[in-house]
């Protein structure tokens, strides 16, 4: 391998190799793990920067593959493939990962198991980097599962909390449902392309790697099934809100900035094989998810869960952008939204983390209030994050989201209306959250005594806030770098911006001051409110009906069948033979006269039978 291939390998290989050491040094001194873990990810980021500026910007695609099972007569490539798309993701993942891990140094400083935490965070970051650099679908899947595993472990990091243990299980199983579609998709890709479509480079080269359209539709829809699970789109979005039981930095890294966008990355990576039919499915799932989770975000009171629903909805924009079917432009729109979302959502989660840190883990926004005065830096950063999330003009979210909304106008007008409505909902729930936290009077004792977090936690927040503000500068360079069309701002862009401001205004009117409007609206809308408040009964359907009643009930029935009927049948055979033996034993009396009688009767019967058979003509 050449030097550049080694470098690309080291981007994810270095943290992957060093994660056992990160845990290991924790047994000597726990703080060492924190420093080592942070340093490793930073080095990864630096290598990524070096590769990016020396090779990728010059148009050099670095790739290397080895056969995963040498000696087997088939080739299953695993290796690295670092093109523009992958390297942009690498920079984002390692940079945001580094900032969040830096924040964790302050956030987790008192946790007794922090060495394990940092080890798992490093493993996660390396798996995510491996995922984006994968050269084949199989390798992508391997890391896809590993990030899922890290997500499981980190959600359940505080495993002694019953909610955390249950949420970890739920997240694992729900994403597993998506994963199996991914497996089927890889299987289909192997079958239809004789193995050629395993390689990312072959897929990127053109759709003809899989000959027929119907085959491409099957493969792409199956892959999209995997993306739905991982990227929490309807109907498999139910795991993310529960996953908020993990430490907040985990939510920031895994369930906002990186892992949940892996599904979007997968679609972008295999974009050539998506046919118009599967793109339509992608578009409508994305749009539907935006509206659904935007509505739920309006009524939830848990600060982290609001952000979780917002994440679902923002990923919906990325998915919808891909579903527009504009080729490289779609990828550009989607990945740009992905990256700007990573910045401002990580910012929001980290400031939420700082708030939770100050408020002794109170997560109910009704128990906060008036924090702007207590924690000026954090809340100002959060304000920037909220502006960016809702797409306030000239922030990162404006450039990323409004471009998607405007681009959809020429493709599908229904989608345009729904996407713009989604933008309105976004600003409504974002500023409901923000005003309830920042303005008004402190509602609880904890909120009154909140204080600013340490400097180590503020640095990442400030850096992310700066990026959320200025990321818009890179928009055009970003699109052209990914091979899309240049972005133009037209008068169409005004509509989502106006809707956003309206939403912000309503939020201020209803939540920014003392008001009874929310209660009145809730009462007036009656059933609708209950429907949204209960999350459209999807959680009830999945957890209480399908998992607990149908599956567990069916398994109880099967268990009864197994024990009673199937095993009973086997035991009945045994019983029959045993009892037959017991009753036949009685013939053996040992009395010679009886035996003689039986012999006589037997002889008589045998002769009679012979006679009958001869009469019937069997013998002559």
């Amino acid at each position: 391998m050449d030097i550049q291939q080694w470098l690309v390998f080291l981007i994810f290989g270095l943290p992957l190799i060093s994660f056992p050491f990160v845990i290991g040094v924790g047994y000597i001194k726990k703080n060492l793990s924190m420093y080592l873990g942070t340093a490793v990810i930073f080095v990864s980021f630096l290598i990524g920067l070096y590769v990016f500026f020396n090779y990728t910007v010059n148009g050099i695609v670095i790739s290397a593959s080895v056969n995963w099972l040498p000696n087997l007569p088939i080739s299953i490539p695993v290796g690295i493939y670092a093109d523009n798309l992958a390297m942009i993701m690498v920079l984002m993942v390692s940079f945001v990962g580094f900032l969040i891990i830096l924040f964790s140094v302050g956030y987790m400083a008192e946790d007794p198991r922090r060495h394990v935490f940092f080890g798992e965070m490093v493993l996660f970051t390396s798996s995510m980097l491996g995922l984006v650099l994968a050269s084949s679908l199989l390798m992508l899947f391997i890391f896809w599962e590993l990030v899922g595993l890290c997500s499981y472990l980190l959600i359940g990091f505080w495993y002694y909390k019953p909610n955390a243990a249950s949420a970890a299980k739920k997240a694992f199983i729900v994403t597993r449902v998506g994963d199996v579609f991914f497996i089927a998709g890889i299987g289909a890709a192997i079958l239809y392309s004789q193995g050629a479509a395993l390689s990312v480079a072959n897929i990127k080269a053109g759709a003809s790697v899989i000959p027929y359209v119907w085959q491409r539709t099957i493969v792409s829809l199956l892959l999209f099934g995997g993306a739905i699970g991982k990227s929490a789109q309807f109907p498999l979005h139910v795991w993310i809100p529960d996953a908020m039981e993990g430490p907040t930095t985990v939510s920031a890294l895994i369930h906002a900035a990186t892992m949940v966008t892996a599904g979007v990355y997968l679609i972008a990576r295999t974009y050539t094989i998506f046919t118009p039919l599967s793109l339509a499915v992608v578009l409508y799932i994305g749009v539907f998810t935006i509206i659904l989770s935007g509505l739920i975000g309006l009524v939830v009171n848990d600060i982290k869960r609001i952000l979780a629903y917002s994440t679902i909805s923002q990923i919906g924009y990325m998915v919808a952008a891909l579903g527009l079917g504009l080729g490289a432009t779609s990828i550009g729109l989607s990945i740009y939204q992905l990256e700007s979302h990573a910045f401002f959502k990580a910012l929001l989660f980290l400031s939420a983390g700082a708030i939770l840190h100050a408020l002794l883990n109170t997560r109910d926004i009704n128990k906060m209030g008036g924090l702007w005065k207590k924690m000026p830096v954090t809340i100002t950063a959060m304000f920037i994050g909220a502006l960016a999330l809702s797409g306030f003009p000239l922030t990162a979210g404006f450039f990323s989201k409004d471009s998607i909304i405007s681009a959809s106008y020429s493709v599908n007008e229904i989608a345009w209306v729904l996407l713009a409505t989604g933008g309105f909902l976004t600003s409504l729930y974002t500023f409901r959250l923000f005003f309830k936290i920042a303005l008004g009077k402190p509602k609880t004792f904890a909120a009154e005594h909140a204080h600013e977090a340490g400097i180590l936690m503020l640095i990442p927040i400030v850096i992310l806030a700066v990026f959320s503000l200025i990321f818009g500068l890179f928009q055009n360079g970003f699109y052209t770098f990914l091979g899309g069309a240049k972005a133009t701002i037209t008068s169409l862009d005004a509509i989502p911006a106006v809707l956003m401001l309206v939403g912000m205004g309503i939020a201020y009117y209803a939540y920014g001051r003392e008001s009874t409007i929310p209660e009145k609206v809730a009462k007036a809308s009656g059933f609708l409110y209950r429907l949204v408040k209960s999350k459209f009964y999807l959680d009830v359907l999945f957890t209480n009906v399908i998992a607990e009643r149908v599956v567990l009930g069916f398994s109880a029935v099967m268990d009864g069948f197994e024990r009673r009927i199937l095993d009973g049948l086997i035991n009945t055979w045994g019983y029959i033979f045993k009892n037959a033996g017991l009753s036949l034993r009685k013939i053996q009396t040992g009395l010679a006269r009886q035996y003689a009688l039986i012999i006589l009767i037997g002889l008589f019967l045998a002769l009679l039978l012979l006679r009958v058979l001869m009469y019937l003509g069997v013998f002559h």
Binding site: N67, W68, L69, P70, N71, L72, P73, I74, L138, F141, I142, F143, E145, L146, L149, Y152, G156, Y159, Y160, K161, P162, A164, A165, S166, A168, K169, F172, I173, R176, V177, V180, F181, I183, A184, I186, G187, A188, I190, L191, Q194, G195, V551, L552, F554, S555, A556, M558, D559, E562, L566, D567, I570, G574
Partner: protein
């Protein structure tokens, strides 16, 4: 050259030594026996045929092929692991050695009668292991195990005799009997195939012929469970891969995929059924017995899928090889994983005094080491990448898309359910708040250290699976579609 006749002689001498020797030696002898087997496999390049002259109707041909070498490697691992991990009595060790010798014979012979003799010989030590060291229901379990599996082998014996007499053969040599199968009337061929598949499916086991398994696994002593689950279930898989596939392809049924379809259906049914039942189990050992059934169901699916592809002349070489090699990999991976799991369940039972999942809870708080190992073993069983379970399962799943198309969704449902019951059990046993009724619990340190051996192998095989196939020059091996 380390010949097989010397091997069997050495093994029997080792066993006799442990019979006459003092206490404690037997355990070392088991390890020594395993090492000898390991050396034997390595020294014969894992691929060798030993031809001795016939004795009357018995043909003394022994063959070390791809599958049997892998199974002998697994055998030597299990032998070493058992002797490190468990402090069993000398009597138990001698039975273990007897079992291992029988398996060496079983996996290498190319004569049907010798195969049958070894097949039955395996039952004897197992019967005594369960019956003497078992749990409170041991007599019932031992008898059920013995009779149930014996019923299957009777049909296999009848099948062997049918072939022998119908073909008018002079010896019971496998190659000649198998290749002559298509000359006899079709009814007899059907009976032969039925006899073999019946015996193998019982041993594997596949639902609905699995009723002996939960009782056997639960009632056996832990060392016995490890032996039975990791080795005895492989007898059925070995039979399917090495005997049933050639038998089927040499019969006149080989151009119709019906039997292959039935096998796939049985495999899928087995996977789903065992997953659903496992979800409801409260006894961890019983739950893992059903998990074992589920893992073996992948091998059934793989064999069925392989036969389907070959019989329909699909010429989809990639899928065929994924299925076949996936099944072989699943053999060794399942053997290692399940022996680790059952020994950890044993450690847990000793530490907490219970095997019931509902009576545990939060033991990660008190026993982090044990909990880490259980977590790792369960993740390996769920087939997470990096663990060896992944390689076999993903190969079989990827290959079976070519066979099953949208029916694959049933298998995938089984995969999700497998993940579900593992995670459900983890959540209730090692995670969650600590169950204070357990009091102050401690795990045996040595038992935890012993679990590092299988864990290391699981990781090595999972991260670099090529190491297993790397021993073999697979390109030159006759592929199993033709006679081995």
């Amino acid at each position: 050259m380390f010949e097989i006749n010397y091997l069997l002689l050495v093994l029997v001498i080792i066993m006799l030594l442990s019979v006459v020797a003092r206490r404690g030696i037997a355990r070392i002898m088991t390890a020594l026996l395993s090492l000898v087997i390991f050396a034997f496999v390595l020294m014969n390049n894992m691929n060798y045929t030993f031809n001795y002259s016939n004795i009357g109707i018995l043909s003394l041909v022994f063959q070390l092929n791809f599958v049997s070498s892998i199974l002998l490697l697994l055998l030597s691992f299990v032998g070493i692991y058992i002797s490190i991990r468990f402090k069993a009595t000398p009597g138990f060790q001698i039975l273990t050695q007897f079992l291992m010798i029988s398996l060496v014979g079983l996996f290498t012979t190319r004569d049907f009668i010798i195969f049958y003799i070894f097949w039955e010989m395996v039952l004897i030590p197992t019967f005594f292991m369960i019956g003497m060291w078992g749990g409170k229901n041991k007599d019932y379990a031992a008898m059920k195990f013995f009779i149930y599996t014996h019923v299957g082998s009777v049909f296999m014996l009848l099948g062997i005799f049918t072939m022998y007499f119908q073909e008018g053969a002079s010896t019971f040599n496998m190659n000649s009997l198998i290749s002559g199968l298509n000359n006899i009337p079709e009814v007899y061929q059907a009976f032969v195939l039925f006899g073999f598949i019946f015996a193998f499916l019982i041993k594997l086991p596949s639902v609905p012929f699995h009723s002996w398994l939960p009782d056997t696994y639960v009632e056996s002593p832990s060392e016995g469970t490890v032996l039975i689950s990791s080795l005895l279930s492989k007898m059925g898989a070995f039979g399917l891969l090495i005997l049933f596939i050639p038998l089927y392809l040499n019969s006149t049924f080989s151009n119709s995929p019906v039997i292959a379809e039935i096998i796939i259906a049985l495999g899928i049914f087995s996977l789903l059924y065992s997953s659903f039942v496992a979800l409801y189990q409260n006894d961890m050992k019983r739950m893992m017995s059903y998990a074992s059934v589920g893992h073996m169901a992948f091998i059934t699916i793989a064999v069925g899928g392989f036969l389907y592809l070959v019989t329909t002349n699909s010429s989809d070489i990639i899928a065929e090889k994924l299925l076949f090699y996936g099944a072989v990999f699943q053999l060794i991976s399942h053997g290692i994983i399940i022996s680790m799991i059952f020994s950890l369940v044993d450690t847990t039972e000793k530490a907490t005094g219970t095997r019931l999942i509902s009576s545990m809870g939060g033991i990660a708080r008190k026993l982090p080491g044990l909990s880490f190992l259980i977590l790792a073993a369960f993740l390996a069983s769920v087939a997470i990448p990096g663990f060896s379970g992944f390689v076999g399962e993903i190969s079989i799943l990827l290959g079976s898309y070519a066979v099953l198309k949208y029916y694959l969704v049933l298998v995938l449902l089984g995969v999700v359910l497998t993940a579900s019951y593992h995670m459900f059990a983890l959540q209730r046993s090692i995670f969650g708040p600590y169950n204070e009724y357990l009091g102050d619990i401690k795990a045996n340190k040595n038992e935890l250290y012993a679990a590092i051996l299988p864990l290391a192998l699981i990781f090595i095989l999972g991260i670099y699976p090529a190491i297993l196939f790397g021993f073999f020059n697979l390109a030159n091996l006759p592929f199993m579609g033709v006679l081995p």
